[in-house]
């Protein structure tokens, strides 16, 4: 459904998807070389869902996210350098090295924070929507979450609150069919997560997550509904991650068949947008130009991150509290 995207949006969509893809490829390489500590969870394969959704949001709309975090602030327009520096734990990181991969946040683009505890941000997203409503603002909050999160208590409480108070929140599930190694068919009591919407008085929509245009169209509709004061929506994007749950240094957990992975790769979200781009005048050239620019951007982000310093010991206590004078 990329035809629903105006040409300018389509091009920006291609750019953001390429940013996610190249950024993530670089993260995989750097993590395997020990340059990025801790766990990283890669979004390759899910670019269509994230970019399509973010492009349906305004600059001052909010997003919240998950441990599979990098794509979300990138999709919302965050600069790559501070994100990469944060992954490396540098003081120039967007969170000053305090959060790392699973807690990226860029308040300048409305990214309120990725969170590592599954489901934990869903009530927070309701709160951002509540805040917008109390301030009579037209802002909306889009909450990214996975399939596993839809089974947590926090999910049900948050959606019920959003439903009773008609909060301007779009709950968007990136259903990639697995929560770590557990397939959704063994964890979710209903066939589609979207059916849970009716339990909370909101519309539930299923979209093809590999088609950025389809996701864009669904989120545009949900955002309009929210801004009109008609309340929240639940959107389930059927998508897939090509990589493991987390980068595990090659450890093979063997719970997905090669055939399944290959089948999903045949509908690569970037290829779907590119196919639409090349139909436009100069489309192929624009694609190549974007790819060149993105590679330079990512390389520059890595350079910036590698050349940045780690935080000093004196920064350990920074930002624990807003007001000073606390503690022994």
């Amino acid at each position: 459904m990329t035809e629903v995207m105006p040409a300018a949006v389509l091009e920006e969509c291609y750019r953001r998807m390429q940013r996610v893809r190249r950024f993530e490829e670089k993260v995989i390489e750097l993590h395997s070389r020990g340059k990025i500590p801790g766990a990283v969870h890669i979004s390759i394969g899910q670019e269509g869902t994230v970019a399509g959704a973010c492009l349906a949001l305004a600059g001052d709309d909010y997003i919240t996210g998950t441990h599979r975090s990098h794509a979300h602030p990138i999709g919302k327009g965050a600069a790559l350098g501070p994100l990469m520096a944060e992954l490396m734990g540098k003081r120039t990181g967007v969170c000053r090295g305090k959060g790392g991969s699973m807690h990226l946040a860029d308040f300048g683009v409305g990214s309120l924070g990725e969170t590592a505890i599954v489901g934990s941000a869903l009530p927070v997203a309701a709160g951002a929507g509540l805040s917008a409503k109390l301030r009579s603002s037209s802002q909306v909050c889009l909450a990214f979450f996975g399939d596993g999160a839809s089974n947590t208590g926090a999910f049900h409480e948050a959606l019920n609150l959003a439903g009773i108070w008609k909060l301007p929140v779009v709950y968007l599930s990136e259903n990639n069919l697995y929560a770590l190694t557990t397939p959704t068919r063994r964890a979710v009591a209903v066939k589609d997560i979207a059916t849970r919407a009716s339990a909370y008085g909101m519309p539930g929509t299923i979209v093809d997550g590999q088609d950025a245009g389809a996701v864009y169209r669904a989120v545009v509709g949900a955002v309009a509904r929210a801004r009109e004061g008609r309340g929240p929506s639940l959107i389930e994007a059927k998508t897939y991650r090509y990589r493991e749950h987390a980068e595990l240094g090659g450890l093979a957990l063997r719970y997905r068949s090669d055939e399944e992975i290959a089948e999903w790769r045949r509908r690569d979200p970037i290829e779907i947008v590119r196919a639409r781009m090349v139909e436009l005048a100069d489309g192929a050239e624009r694609c190549e130009e974007i790819e060149r620019q993105v590679i330079l951007e990512v390389d520059e982000a890595v350079r910036f991150a590698e050349q940045s310093e780690y935080p000093g010991a004196s920064e350990l206590w920074d930002n624990l509290y807003s007001t000073s004078g606390v503690g022994h």
């Binding site: 020990g34 090659g250 450890l251 093979a252």
Partner: protein
């Protein structure tokens, strides 16, 4: 160009691993992903693959040794 063979973290909480046995030796040519050694950790025992293709330049850890995550186990000369 030399590339390090690092002991990766196969899951949250993994702190170290034991090199059970080396499958390859210094001087061997390997392709990216070829099994280099068997590693035993608290949670799993599995093969560690070559990070890139090339010739094994050195192996720094003996069979039976337990080393922390991130340790350089050896190096490969990349073509």
């Amino acid at each position: 160009m030399l590339v390090d063979i690092l002991l990766p973290q196969w899951g949250m909480g993994m702190q170290e691993g034991t090199i059970v046995r080396w499958y390859r030796a210094v001087g061997d040519r390997v392709a990216e992903g070829d099994a280099l050694c068997e590693v035993e950790t608290a949670k799993a025992t599995d093969d560690l693959g070559a990070p890139e293709g090339g010739v094994i330049a050195e192996l720094l850890v003996e069979e039976g040794a337990t080393v922390p995550v991130g340790e350089v186990l050896g190096r490969i000369t990349v073509d």
